[in-house]
Symmetry: C2
Subunit: 428 residues, 2 copies
């Protein structure tokens, strides 16, 4: 079945806020056999919202909107939906009770604008928002076509709040509603594979024969993210599981040793997995990545069994006094050097009481470049009880890109070190 | 003038990658007087790309696409653009030289797929990509209308790469091209104002009279982000500067003491600014935020004059041994307590040699809740040479939301402390 997503909000069109809701919705509905055909982002203008919603209703079985439901004057979505689906806005006492409950919990005074959240089109079914004040609204209508051979089709629309954690939190209730009211059909089997250590074009060359062998309707997509490439294999609709497995096996064979695993596995998840297999704990010592490695690990629920802590040593003083990088290395080789990052990993293990550590020191830019060390120059070290490695990287891109790539590379280097020492061990 | 953005890539529709390019483009073109009317995201399907591009060309003076230009098989944008704008794909020797230069710099071998990047529609003007291999392509055509009173209009399309740092890096060249070829007109004056310490609906109530006073065509938008609300005031097209200033002054008057400043000022920027006004240095001690406060500060270029470092103390051991939180406080009150975060700020100042510090300790979830301390419970402390404060927060939302809100709240608390002590000083 086809899914269209409509994101409503001036703040997205202005570039003030990055839309993450569409990704959350796509990831929740993919496994149910829904194909996201388009994501349309429009501002808080009635005409634009109406045009985007009607186009999406025409082209998709299900449309999900987010945003445009806040208490302030720039939110006019409910009126537009009443125009499209009929009915009038009326006070919903259940929604009002929910709004009152949330305001009481947060200890905030309610005002008239907030009460307007409880005004709901009479043409919809409400799903109570457990995480915020804006109710979720489910609409249904028959779209008539001019062509006599295509009779009317049932089209569904679900209107979700725009606040990201409310959308994330309410998605299980929305997928349950959809499964009950639309069912799932035309199921496409798909699987993601994480690949690392090879460029996108070298990987494409390596997979050319495999891609030629895929029957029409099967699809292989390349999704490069910092430090990795995620491959996604999609079957034809209603493909047999056994057939899909055959192609999945052929694909993993063709990827060979570059395969990290099945599914989308972030560098931080890979590192946690590698640590857990040995029962090791992990710390980080970060200069140019500024805490982003620790942040990417601690974003993962349950990391506290493995991750113990970090020292962000933005100054040379902290590198010396906290992490114990020798003064003469900092003076002679500089902060961006092999010796510095090696001592940073040793210091992180000692200070944090960790078995393993990664360390970064480099020039994220735009300032800070020195002769021979342009922006993007980063030394990275990794250390486990079985070995240590330091490596020099030159990352293209601006400050943000250098920080992201150095973060991914540090975690990847740790995994590489773990696997290299495992291979040495098993060869002995 | 109107701007339509078309984002191309299966990875966005699948939710594997978050689109940040549209925001970069919107922020670059807003100041030139362009209104982003829609952002359409489509997959790597020729028909969908064509439909989205043609709809955008119809409705906008300028269309910018990103993505769909990689060397792998799922990229078919160039063929679609040749179908729309005419011409054929031909080898561009300048682009080939650029591709060869980039591969040489990165020490990677070129293959046939990479060479295909140098095939360019003969109907376009190329802007060399200084950050990657995919060339930027500028197209122009006259769109004819059926209505005799609306003669043909010149429509422009610029095709940019999909890799975020390439898009960011090439935007200055693209805005320069657009200024030269389209000019700027119908200039809307707009200004952002950052507000903190008040809820969206309370702010809307406060600004109701101001909003009623705005002439038709003026627009005030609320853009809530964690810890703050950004207000954006847009004038009517070609408004007089003096008139706009009048309304801007009225708005800041209505916002009153909740105004943080003009422009979009992140909590980390506010904190850096507050530190610099006193010549103070800053460190962080983070438990539940896991390095995200340090990351949000070090994302800002030039922060190293103020930010010195961080200790991420994910375990109680590090809280005690590195930061010096007394064992009896950890045992009696627990890690999530007023005493713990107060000692964490003291420890961060001492260990990092900083004048000021913020500290967090809380339950980000989904696990870790204890009786009386549900998920979202976070103690935050801030410390400057002039004072210290500890405060208990209850953040709604999931792990990601709690980490984001605690990060914003910690930096906001630091600013509040600085301003409170300033007020006390000046009153004396």
């Amino acid at each position: 079945m086809k899914l269209g997503i409509v994101i409503i909000g001036d703040e997205i069109l202005l570039g003030s806020v990055t839309d993450t809701n569409s990704g959350e919705i796509a990831r929740a509905f993919g496994p149910l056999g829904f194909d996201v055909t388009t994501i349309s982002t429009v501002g808080d203008k009635a005409g634009d919202i109406r045009a985007a919603v009607e186009r999406s209703l025409d082209a998709n079985d299900l449309t999900i909107t987010t945003g445009g439901l806040g208490p302030t004057r720039d939110d006019i979505t409910k009126t537009v939906l009443t125009d499209i689906f009929g009915g009038t806005l009326a006070l919903d006492t259940d929604v009002l009770a929910n709004v009152e409950r949330i305001f009481a919990e947060r200890g905030i005074r309610m005002n008239e604008l907030t009460r307007s959240q409880a005004m709901v089109p009479t043409s919809c079914t409400v799903i109570q928002n457990r995480y915020g004040t804006a109710p979720l609204m489910c609409f249904e209508k028959t779209v008539a076509y001019d062509e006599p051979e295509a009779p009317g089709a049932r089209r569904h629309l679900i209107c979700m709040p725009g606040v990201p954690f409310e959308t994330r939190g309410m998605l299980p209730a929305v997928t349950a509603y959809v499964t009950e009211h639309l069912g799932t059909s035309d199921k496409v089997i798909h699987r993601e594979f994480t690949v690392a250590g090879i460029s996108e074009s070298a990987l494409a060359e390596r997979l050319a024969i495999f891609e030629d062998s895929l029957p029409a309707g099967y699809k292989l997509a390349y999704l490069p993210i910092p430090g990795e490439i995620v491959l996604r294999l999609d079957s034809t609709p209603n493909a047999q599981a056994a057939e899909f497995e055959e192609f999945a096996t052929a694909l993993t064979g063709a990827v060979g040793s570059y395969l990290v695993g099945v599914g989308k596995i972030s560098p931080a998840e890979r590192a946690l997995h590698a640590m857990r297999q040995h029962g090791w704990t992990l710390a980080t010592a970060e200069s140019c990545t500024g805490g982003n490695i620790a942040h990417s690990i601690t974003d993962i629920a349950g990391c506290s069994d493995t991750f113990v802590g970090a020292v962000v040593s933005y100054t040379n003083e902290i590198k010396a006094t906290v992490l114990g990088v020798p003064k003469d290395i900092l003076d002679t080789c500089g902060a961006v050097s092999e010796g510095t990052v090696r001592h940073m990993t040793e210091g992180a293990c000692r200070v944090c009481g960790a078995d393993c550590a990664v360390a970064t020191s480099g020039i994220a830019g735009p300032g800070g470049a020195t002769p021979g060390k342009p922006v993007g120059t980063v030394w990275i070290a990794a250390r486990t009880p079985l070995g240590a490695v330091e490596r020099l990287y030159h990352f293209p891109g601006d400050r943000k890109a250098v920080i992201e790539r150095a973060t991914a590379a540090a975690l990847a280097l740790l995994c590489e070190l773990v696997h290299a020492t495992e291979a040495t061990e098993s060869a002995q």
